[in-house]
Symmetry: C3
Subunit: 422 residues, 3 copies
C-alpha cells in the first residue's frame, strides 16, 4: 500500500511540473512575439487552460480512457464515478496528470495562431481541439485504441502531445497566413523578432523543469527508482540539443543566435520524450544532438517555404517530435523491456524494422488525423465567423488593444488615441 | 512509519509550493502597478517575507498552536522544544507549512498598501500583522480556539488566510486613501493600469501551481491519495473562474479585459479553498464559476465606492473568500465526512442551516477582528509616524526612488536629476 | 524498501528544485545587468547548463565519485555501468542531484564574466571548470578525498559549490578587468545599475525555493523527517539575512537599497548552507543575520578595491560562503551528531577548536585551488584566444549584438544601423 501511495505522490508531483510548463509557454510565447501582443498572449494561456480543464473534465477524460472502441472512449464523462481501489493510481491523480498533457498539447497548437488570430477563434478552437482532436489521438495510443493494439510506443507523448499539437499549429498557420510584414514581395523574409529574450530563456528553463515531470512521472510508478534513469536521459538530451543548435547557428550565420539555441534545448527535450525510458544515456545524447541540428534546419526550411511560425512550434514540436518517435524505433534497448515491461527491441539491438515500422505508422496516422481535422475545423470557423483573423488595422495596433482593450505594457506603448495627439 | 514519512514528504512539498506563491505575488503585484514602483513592490515582498519568517519563529507558531485558551496560544515560542514523535507530522514540517500560510496572508494584506505607503509602514505592519492579527484568527479556527470548538470548517484557509489578509488590506486602503490621480473630482475613476501583463499572467500561473500545495497539502496526509480529489476540485474551479470572468468582462465592456480574466482564475482558486475537500467536482465548477462572476462585480463595486484597491485584493481574497467559505456550507457532502473524518452535511445534502450558520459566524467574527485591529493599528501608526503615506512629490516620482534610492528599471525611467537637465 | 524509494523520491525532488535555481540565476543575472546584455546573459545560462550536463556525464561524475585517490576519482566515466542495488540512492538519482550542484557552481563562476567576456570564453571555460576545477574540490570533500578523511563538514556545499564558484568568479574578474565606465580616473565608482529589479527579486525568490532542495535534499534520506528541521534553519537564516542587509543599507545610505536587500536574503541562504543540518534555529538566525551584515560590507569593500563584480558573486557566494563554513565550526551541536550521524561538537558546545580548524583548512585549500587553477586557465585562454574580453566597441553596443547578432529587447534598444539613420 505504501508504495502505491508513493506512486500516486510521484505522479501528482509530475502533474505540478507539467502544469508549470504552461508558465514556461507564457514566457516562451510572449518573449518570442512583439510587445503589442504580449498581454494577449500571456492572458490567453490562462483562459484557454481554463477552457481545456473544463472540457477535459466534461468529455476529454471519457473520450481517452472510457470504455469504447478502437477509435474513441465513450464512458466516464464528467469524471465518472470512479473510486480509488487502493491499487495503481487513484483515478483523480491519473485524471489530473492526463489533463495537464491535454493542456500542453493545446498550448502547442496555439503557437500557430500567434499575433493574428481573433480571441474568439482561441475560445472556439480550445473547445474543438480538446473535444475532437487531442482525445482521439490519445485514445489511439494511450487509451487502448488501435495503435496501442499494434504496439505503438510513446513513452511520454512525442506523438500524442507534441506531434498532435504541432500538426494543429500547422493547420492554423496555413489557414491564417503569414503575419503582416513577415514576407516581402521578392520572397525574402523579415525577422519579426520576439521582444524579450529573458522571458524566452526563462520560459525554456521552466519547460525543462516541467519536462522532468512530463517524462519522469510517465513511469507512473517509483519502482526501482527508474525515474532517475529517465531523467538522466532527459537531461543529457536537452543539454546536447542546446549545444548542437548553438554551434550550428554559429557556424551557419557567424553568430550564436539566442532563440535558436533555446529551441535546441527544447528540441532535445522533445526528441527524448518518446524514448526516455527505452534507451541508454549515450543514445540519449545522440538523439538530443540530432534533435538540436534538425530543429535549426527545420526552422530555416519553414521560413523559406513562407510558412510563418512565430513560436517555432512546427519545428520544435513537429519535426523534432517525429524524429523522437522514430529515434525510439532506432535506439530502444531490449534489456529495459525485460526488466520493466516496457520497450521493444530497437533497430540497432536486433529488433529489426518491426518497431520502427509501427512507430512510423503511428506518426503518419496521428499526424494526419490532427492536421486534417484541425484544418477542416479552422476552415469552417473561418467561413462561419467571418474570418478567424483580425483585421489588418487591428493586427498593426496589436491584439492587446483590439481583443482586450488595453496594452499589456501600457507605459511602453502609447495608446493610439494618445499618439494621434502627439 | 513509512506512510507517516510520506505524509511529511507531502506536506513539505506543499510548503515549497506555497512559498512559490510569493513569487506569484511578486509578479502579480509588480505587473498590476506602475513602473516607477516596481522595484519597491518586488523587493518588499522579499524582506517582509523575512520579517514574517522571524516573527513566526519567535511568537507566531506559539500564538497559533501553543497551549492557551479560546483566544490565543501561549507556549512553544521560538519553535519550542518539540521533537518528532514518529506519528503525524514532524513539528518542523508542520511549522514550515504553517509559516508559509502566514506569509501569504501578510502578502495579501500588503496589496492594500500598494503604490503609496512608506517603506517603514511595511516594516512595522509586517511585525504587527504577524503578531497580533493572523495568529489570533488562525488560533480560533485551526489552533483549537473557539471557532474550532463550534465546528467552523476552513479546509485550506478561505477565512484564515484570504479573508484575514483582505480585511487588513481593506483597512489599509481606507487609512491610506486612494492613489493620486485615481479618482476625478466628478467622481469618475481613472484606470492606473498595471505596467506588465506578462508578469501578471505568469504570476497567476505561479499562484495556481502554488495553490496545488495550498489546498493539496492541507489534507496533511497521503491516505487514499485523497489529495488527487482535492486538486481536481481546485483545478476545475480555477478554470471555471477564469472562463466566467472573461465572458462577463467581454459582455460588459465589449473587450475581454486581461487583468479581469486573470482575477477570475484567482477567484476560482480562492473560492474553492474552503470547500476543496468537501464537495464534488460539479459543485467545484459551480463554485468557481460563481467566484469568477462575483469578482468582476466586486471589482466594479469597490471602484464605484472610490475604494482604491490596486491589486484587487479586496475583491479576489475578500469578497470571494467569503463566497468560498459560505459555499462550503452550501455544497459540502456528508459522504466525504464519513470517509475521511472531515466535513459536515451541507445545505443541499440534508445538513440544514447549521453548518452554513457556523460558517457565517466564522466569517463575520474573523473578518471583523482582522479589519478592526488592522484599522486601529494603522491609525495609531499614522499618528505616531507622522503619516504612513509618502508625500505627494514622492508618490509622483515613485517609491522606487523615494524609498530605495533608485528605480527598478533605471534604463526605462530616467532619474529626475537627469530629466531636469534634458 | 519503501523508505529507500522515498529517499530516492526526496532526492529527485531536490534535484528539480536545484535545477530551478538556474531559472533564479537567469533572472538574478539578467536583472542585475544592463539591457544590452540581457539576451546574452539569459541565453548563456541555458547553453552552459547544456555543456555542464554533458561534461558531468562524460567525466565529472567519475572524477568526483569514482574509485581513485586522495586527489581525484578515476572510474565511472560516461555514467559507468552502475545498477540500483535497492539500497541507498539509485545511481541515476544521485547522479542527477550531484549534476545540479555542478551546474550551480559553474553558474556562480560565470557571475564574474558578466557584461564583458566573449561567448567563446564561456564555452571553453564551461568545459574547463567542469573538468578541472569543480570535480576536484567536490572529490576532496564529498567524494572520499583528503578533506573528507580529515572530517571536513560541508552539509550542502558552502565550500564545494559556493566558494568554488566564487573563487573562479574572482579569477575571472581579475583577468577580465572592470567594465567600461565602472571606475573613474579619480578612483570613484559608478553604479552601472541592473536594468530590472523585478527580475532580480523574482530570481532571489526562485533561488530561495531552490535552496529548499539544495539544503533539504542534502539529508539524502527522509528518516525522522529531519529535512523539516534543515529547512526551518534555512528559512529563518534567509529571512534574517534579508532583514539585516536592508537595515544596514538603510542605516549606511539613508535608503533601503533593493539589490542589497535581495543580496541579504541570498547571503542568509549561503551562510546556512554548511551548517543547516548541524545547528539550532536560534543559531541559524544569528548565522543569517551576520551573513546579511557581512555581505553589505563585502560589496562595499570589493567596490572600493576596484574589483568589478556585477552580480555580487564574490560577496554573496565567496565572503559569505567562507562565513557559513566557519559558522558551522562555531555553532554545530553535538546532539545532532549523535542522533543522525552527522556533525561534530562546535566551539560553543565543547568541541574546542578542532572542528573549526578543519573547516578553516578546508576553506583555504579549496578556495586556493579553485582560484589558482581558474586564474591560470583564464590567463592561458586570454593568451591563446587573443583575449577573452570583447572589444571596447562590442562592449559598448552590448554582447547581445556582438555575440548573438541581435538584441534581447529589440523593441527597446534600436539596432545601431537604425540609429545611424535616425
Amino acid at each position: 500500500m505504501e508504495s502505491v501511495l508513493m506512486d500516486n505522490l510521484w505522479v501528482i508531483i509530475g502533474t505540478f511540473l507539467v502544469f508549470l510548463m504552461l508558465g514556461g509557454f507564457i514566457l516562451l510565447e510572449a518573449g518570442s512575439t512583439r510587445m503589442k501582443n504580449a498581454g494577449h498572449i500571456a492572458g490567453k494561456t490562462i483562459f484557454t487552460a481554463g477552457i481545456g480543464s473544463l472540457v477535459f473534465w466534461a468529455v476529454g477524460w471519457g473520450f481517452i480512457y472510457g470504455e469504447g472502441n478502437w477509435f474513441i472512449g465513450l464512458s466516464d464523462f464528467f469524471y465518472g464515478d470512479a473510486s480509488f481501489s487502493g491499487e495503481g493510481l487513484a483515478p483523480a491523480v491519473d485524471f489530473m496528470f492526463q489533463m495537464m498533457f491535454a493542456l500542453v498539447a493545446m498550448t502547442i497548437a496555439f503557437g500557430g495562431f500567434a499575433e493574428r488570430a481573433k480571441l474568439s477563434a482561441y475560445v472556439i478552437f480550445a473547445v474543438l481541439f480538446s473535444v475532437l482532436i487531442y482525445p482521439v489521438v490519445a485514445h489511439w495510443i494511450w487509451g487502448g485504441g488501435w495503435l496501442a493494439d499494434h504496439g505503438k510506443q510513446d513513452f511520454a507523448g512525442s506523438t500524442v502531445v507534441h506531434l498532435t499539437g504541432a500538426m494543429a499549429a500547422l493547420a492554423a498557420t496555413l489557414v491564417l497566413k503569414p503575419r503582416i510584414g513577415k514576407y516581402n514581395k521578392d520572397g525574402s523574409s523579415n525577422n519579426l523578432a520576439g521582444h524579450n529574450q529573458v522571458f524566452t530563456a526563462l520560459g525554456v528553463l521552466l519547460l525543462w523543469v516541467g519536462w522532468f515531470g512530463f517524462n519522469g512521472a510517465s513511469t507512473f510508478e517509483v519502482a526501482d527508482a527508474f525515474f532517475g534513469f529517465v531523467l538522466l536521459n532527459t537531461q543529457v538530451a536537452a543539454g546536447a540539443g542546446a549545444v548542437a543548435a548553438m554551434f550550428v547557428s554559429w557556424a551557419l550565420t557567424g553568430k550564436a543566435d539566442v532563440p535558436t539555441t533555446l529551441n535546441g534545448a527544447l528540441a532535445g527535450l522533445v526528441a527524448i520524450t518518446a524514448p526516455a525510458g527505452f534507451v541508454e544515456p549515450w543514445a540519449a545524447v545522440i538523439i538530443g544532438l540530432i534533435g538540436g541540428v534538425i530543429v535549426v534546419f527545420s526552422m530555416r526550411w519553414f521560413d523559406q517555404a513562407r510558412i510563418d511560425d512565430p513560436i517555432f512550434a512546427l519545428s520544435v514540436h513537429g519535426t523534432v517530435g517525429i524524429w523522437g518517435t522514430l529515434a525510439n524505433g532506432l535506439f530502444a534497448v531490449p534489456a529495459f523491456s525485460a526488466g520493466i515491461g516496457w520497450g521493444q527491441p530497437g533497430l540497432f539491438y536486433g529488433g529489426g524494422f518491426t518497431q520502427l515500422g509501427v512507430q512510423t505508422i503511428g506518426v503518419i496516422t496521428s499526424g494526419l488525423y490532427a492536421f486534417v481535422v484541425a484544418f477542416i475545423l479552422l476552415k469552417v470557423m473561418d467561413r462561419v465567423m467571418g474570418g478567424i483573423r483580425v483585421t489588418e488595422e487591428e493586427e498593426i495596433v496589436g491584439l492587446d488593444l483590439s481583443e482586450h482593450g488595453g496594452y499589456g505594457y501600457p507605459e511602453n506603448i502609447p495608446h493610439p488615441d494618445d499618439r494621434k495627439g502627439a
